[in-house]
Structure formats: C-alpha cells, structure tokens
Symmetry: C2
Subunit: 412 residues, 2 copies
C-alpha cells in the first residue's frame, strides 16, 4: 500500500482521490498541474528518524514510505540518490560566508538530478503496467529516462527537436531508446509526445505535466536534512529552468515537515540565468493568490535551465513565495566563472546549470540577504562532463615548456 | 599506526622495512616496482566481516586497516569507492552466460577508477608532509588527482604532453592544477615529472612508479567480495593498459585472502585492445620466474588503456599468471560495440576503456574458458561522458519525422 491520499491541483486546489494503478496527469477541473498529498499521520508510523537511522539502503529508496508506490513495486536497480553533501569551506571563504554546503547531483547514474524523477516515474509506470513510456527532452531528463529504462530492459520513446546536440541524441540511442527527431521546436516535441501518449495509451513522463517527477525530486531535500543530522538549512539555493526541481525541493521539505521528521522549513533561493528568467518574471507578476506564468525567449549557455515556458511554473512561484525566499538572476559570464570556482574550491565539477547555484550563492552572500549565521546548501544539479564545451570556455591555458627540468625554474 | 610492514620488490623480492612518514618509490637494489606488505595477522584483528558489517562508511575508507596510512590521517573528503555492483542479466543472456556483474567505476568523484589510487596517494602525501604533489598524465589519473587535490585545497603540478586532448587539459585547469604542457611525448612528460620531483623534493604520484596507487586500487576487489556477500567471483575481467589496475585488483584479492576475509582467489582475465597489447606480448614472452616487459607502439581508440610501455607491467603479468587467468585481445570495433551493449542492457554508460571488459566478457564466454557455472565481474573503469566522440561512433541515428502524430504510424 501507498500512503498517497489525493491529487491536489496546484492552481485551483481541487482534490481527486488517489487510486493505485491509476495514472493521473492534470486537474480534471482546470487542466493545471497536480501535486500528490499523503496521509502524513499514517506515513509517520512507517518513516521516522529512528527507522531511517537503521535503514541501510543508501539510495532514494530509503524514503519509499513517502512515494506514491505500492510496497513490492519493482525499484529501478540503478543506484540513484544519496549523493554526497560536502561542506564547502573554501568556496564559502571566497565569498565571505563559510556555512555553505554543496550537493553533488552529478554523481547520479546518468549524471544528473533527473535520475530522482526518473526512478519514481519509471517504477510507477511499471506498477501501473504502462504499455510504453514516452517523454520529450533535449537533455538530462531524456538521457536519465533512457538510462533507467535500459536498466530494466525497457525501450522508451523519446521525442527530441531535430536540432538537439548530437552528443545528447547519441546518449539516448546508446541506451536503446526509440528516438524520434521532430522537425520542429522543443515545444512541438513536447506536444507531439502528449498526443502520442493520448493516442496510444502510453505513460507520459513529461516534466511539468506528470506529477510523479516532483515526487522523485523531493528526495533530495530529505537527504539534505538527514545528511545534516536533521538540521534544516536556512537556505537552499536551486538552479531554476522549467521550475520542476525547485518545486520538488519545496515539496520534499513540506512532506518532511508534515510527517514530523523536521520542525521547520528553509527559505529557497531560485537562481536563473539573466537569459532565461521566466520564473523570475512570473514571480514579479504574481501574488500567492494570483499566480501568472510568463513566457519568454530563453538563450542561456546553461542549456539544462534554458526554458521559454516554465512547465512547472506555478510550483516554482509557490515554492519561492511560500518559503519566503528570493529569486535572483546571474549572468552567463558569472555561471562560467562559477564552474571553475566550484571545481577548484570543492573538487565538484558541474555543468553550467549546476554552477548557476554557485553564482547565485555569491550574489546572495554579497546582497546581505543571507545572514552571517545562516546555513546554505547549493545544488550542483548535473555533472560537468555533460558539457565539456562550456567548461573549455572557463578553463584558461596551460604553461608550455620544452621537456627539461631547467625550464621549470620560475614558473612553479 | 599502520599495519604496513615492508616494501617488497616485484622483481627481485628484496624487502625494505616500512616506516611511517617515509616515501619510497622503487627497489633500492634493482630499481624495479615495489609492493607494500602488511602484518596480516595484526590487521585481521582490526578488520573482519563483522567489523565491516557494522561499518557505515560507504566509501573506500571502510578498508583503512589495509592501507599504508596512520590512524587519524586526513581522509580525502570526496566520496570515492563503494561504487555500485549490478547483476547484469540481460548483458549475460546476450552472450549466453547469465552469471555476470558489472562494477560501475564511472560513479567515482572524477568519473573513473583512478580516484581510488588518488585518494590513498593524496592522503599519504599529506601524512608525509609533501611540499608539493606532481604527476604526469593525459587523462583520468591527472583529472582524478586534480579533482581530489581541489577538495583539500591543494594545487598539484601536472605534466601533460602538449598534444593531449583540450578537454582533458581543461578539466585539469578547472580544478586549479598547475598544468605544464610539455613539448614532447607522454614518456617525456613522465620523465620530466620524475626529474622535477627529484630536484624539488615533491611527492611523485606517477602510476607504475609510486607503490601507493596499487594500494588504493585494491579497494575495488574488497568491495566486489563484500557486495557479493563474501562470495569471491570465479573471474574478474579487467581492462589493461599500463597494468596498474589489474595489479591493484590482484593485490586486493591477495590481501583479503591473507587477512582471512576470504578463502579463495579469483582468476583474472586481462583484456587489451589489439592495438595496445604490450601486456599480452609480455605475458607470452614471460614465465613467472622470468618476466619480460615488451614495449610497443599503441594506437587504440580506448585512450585510457593506450600504452606503449606498461609501467606496472611486472605486476600485470604476475596477476594473470599467478591467478591462473588469461589475457585476451579485442578489436576497437568490438570495444565500440560493447559501449552500446553495456548501455542498453544495464544502463551503465562507460568510456571505451571501460567497455573493453564487456568485449572481453563476450570473447571469454564464447571461448569456453568461462565455464557455465562460473561467476564473472566486469570492471567498467570510466564514465562514458568522458569520451563522447567515441560514443557518437557507436550510437546510430534517430528517426526524423514532421511534428504530427500521424507520422508515428508504422515506426514505433
């Protein structure tokens, strides 16, 4: 049994009863995104600090009492989650704030945070006997789904815009996915995926449409609290594109609080590229009772958070406002610089989207919003090896010498 | 205190007493490579199956009783080792042998097996108060050292041939290493590193020269046995270039056996590219009492195991002969094919060197040398994201369509 109780609309609040083996995507009343609500009092009997201390499963499955899955459902075998959380003192000193940690999500099976979403979505699809699994993606979500599906012998259908980077398409194909290159934009690939799932009865994993992705992503918040000895950090700094990661992070802290595992909530700092700031603009146009999602034309170097229309925009805006957080913008130059800063001060090499949280930390510390005694956690959402071209721009040059030890004089 | 007792020459057998805080590289009598020998009876009091079952440190540091380091020595903070070991049934079925596992070393901090060597070498360098740490590398060993050093605020000196791939040099620079590009070959960079360490009194981490790298690499064997519930596999299939990984793998199984943690030893299958087969040629030219190391001109696509002169050749030849194993060659075409096979049957995406063990498994299974009831573990030594260009060659092409659901008819 699962402790999930209802689907609740993020926009109108309408609730629909949760039933096992039923796949529900959007609100039956208003068509907006849903979140999954649990019977938290019952869940608290199955998961608590003591049960977690005794749990030897070092993966996101240690929080299975708070997932919308039956006991006994097949768990994807690739070890996702329980990524390292490092105290980052040298990074902190650089920006005058030592109480900072970095969560290295590049250590997940396919190298990104998206494996959290994919693990829960795929297990649910298997539980619900999905005929086929499909999704639209140009990047990390697609390679994550293809990777996880390969581990259970499933070939998903993945829709990509035909102009997606060849390297990203290569990964999908290597994992054995059926890759459909759509002669059009990402939005057209997203819509085609939706139409195909409707027509053929497939399971649609699309981010910001399927409520299960958020349920997987929330596991990161649970790990942060547990890895910090159940001290909830004051701030969590999150790179934001389509809004689903920050929405999942917030859901994680809320679910911990509702289950009694924690007694407070953090503030969330959403960080966007200046060149992909739809969520920032949406927050500026919204109040908590009247959320407006703004569509822009994005062009940032941080491709994983380059988003025109944030598909989980309501969730992202709510996360920032409800947590009494902030949304800040950083330049692409600062993002590139942050790749280097993170690598050389912590040993964590992250892709541009991941480094966005480091650039955001610098700005948050400088602004005075982050108080001296407050703790902050930066999410490094993807592995730096995913985007070597951007890394090259931040790297600089080596010193060239002839092969004789005398030539080292004065340069080392 | 450490249980290390002596340095023993791999060639002449001469022993030199092990002393804390002393750095010893090669045999004082014959100049050949050394291995570190422990007081295994004493070590067995500190490490056993029960103590390991109670140990919650899920990294290579769980085996610290069998490292040449004092208690209390700084442990590198990046979480290296305890990589996932997956049963690979679909991979096995493809080649008619289901009892096969894959060890995903791409999950280490810098994305390769080398982080095991680097963790122990770096901690030893810190313990021994090294003025500076240096190494020569074109690839994984260098980026691993730079990554681990960054995590403790050290800038190592890394010598690279000036023609090393830009992306690899970029990673070194990002981690804050002092990168010296040598106008010459890898061998010249290796020798220059040696000369510089002699002249300036630096700590030389070079693979196949510093005996500590093998001590780190052995941790993988310990994990394999523990993760298999202390069943020693019948075969371990290892990609081989300079010989240091297979030499470390063998040392791990030997040290477990000597400490009483296991009661048998596996056979090792060394796998080389046909285009980089110096160890195979050395084995053919050697007997256990008369080991001859052969120098070739290597050119394989699997750059991490492309080696002219195997610097830990004696260790590699011994590992294969002593374990009653075999050394086999595979073609570069088979290596590329194996990248795809591993990815689509297990979800593990590995670089060409890592896939070499999968190609070797296919050949070993087909040969009949691997018996039906025998178990085999393949080492996937590095993350596939490290070499996207090779992956592209193995990937194939997507299906291109116009963005309308009708166009899916007949193609999905």
């Amino acid at each position: 049994m699962s402790f999930a109780r209802a689907y609740k609309c993020m926009a109108c609040g309408h609730e629909k009863e949760y039933r096992n083996n039923e796949t529900v995507y959007v609100c039956e009343k208003c068509g907006q995104n849903l979140e999954i609500i649990y019977d938290y009092a019952e869940a608290a009997k199955a998961i608590n600090r003591k049960s977690l201390a005794d749990n030897t499963d070092m993966s996101l499955w240690r929080y299975s009492a708070l997932y919308p899955l039956e006991n006994g459902t097949m768990r994807t075998p690739l070890q996702a989650g329980w990524t390292p959380l490092y105290k980052a003192e040298r990074l902190g000193r650089k920006f005058g704030h030592e109480k900072v940690w970095i969560k290295d999500e590049g250590r997940n099976p396919s190298g990104s945070f998206k494996d959290r979403a994919g693990s829960i979505a795929l297990s649910a699809a298997i539980e619900r006997k999905a005929k086929r699994i499909a999704g639209a993606s140009t990047g990390n979500a697609g390679s994550s789904m293809a990777c996880l599906c390969a581990s259970v012998g499933i070939s998903p259908v993945i829709f990509v815009p035909c102009k997606a980077p060849k390297a990203k398409i290569a990964q999908l194909l290597l994992y054995g996915a059926k890759v459909i290159a759509v002669n059009g934009t990402y939005d057209q690939a997203f819509d085609l995926c939706h139409d195909a799932c409707e027509k053929y009865g497939w399971f649609n994993r699309n981010t910001g449409y399927n409520p299960l992705t958020r349920e997987g992503k929330k596991s990161c918040s649970m790990e942060i609290c547990e890895q910090m000895g159940w001290e909830v950090p004051d701030w969590v700094i999150v790179p934001v594109g389509d809004g689903n990661i920050i929405s999942g992070i917030w859901k994680g802290f809320l679910d911990l609080y509702r289950t009694g595992l924690t007694d407070r909530l953090p503030k969330l700092c959403a960080v966007q590229s200046e060149k992909s700031n739809a969520v920032k603009k949406s927050i500026e146009a919204s109040s908590i009772s009247d959320i407006k999602i703004v569509n822009i034309e994005a062009s940032t170097i941080a491709d994983s958070i380059s988003v025109d229309l944030p598909r989980d925009g309501i969730g992202a805006v709510k996360a920032v406002i409800e947590s009494k957080g902030v949304c800040i913008e950083v330049s692409d130059e600062k993002i590139l610089e942050a790749i280097r800063t993170a690598a050389e001060t912590t040993g964590v090499f992250t892709e541009p989207a991941g480094a966005t949280s480091i650039a955001g930390f610098e700005k948050l510390a400088a602004s005075g919003i982050l108080k001296e005694n407050e703790t902050a956690v930066c999410l490094a959402t993807g592995n730096g090896l995913k985007d070597i071209d951007s890394a090259l721009k931040a790297a600089g040059s080596p010193i060239l010498i002839e092969p004789s030890v005398e030539n080292l004089q004065g340069i080392i």
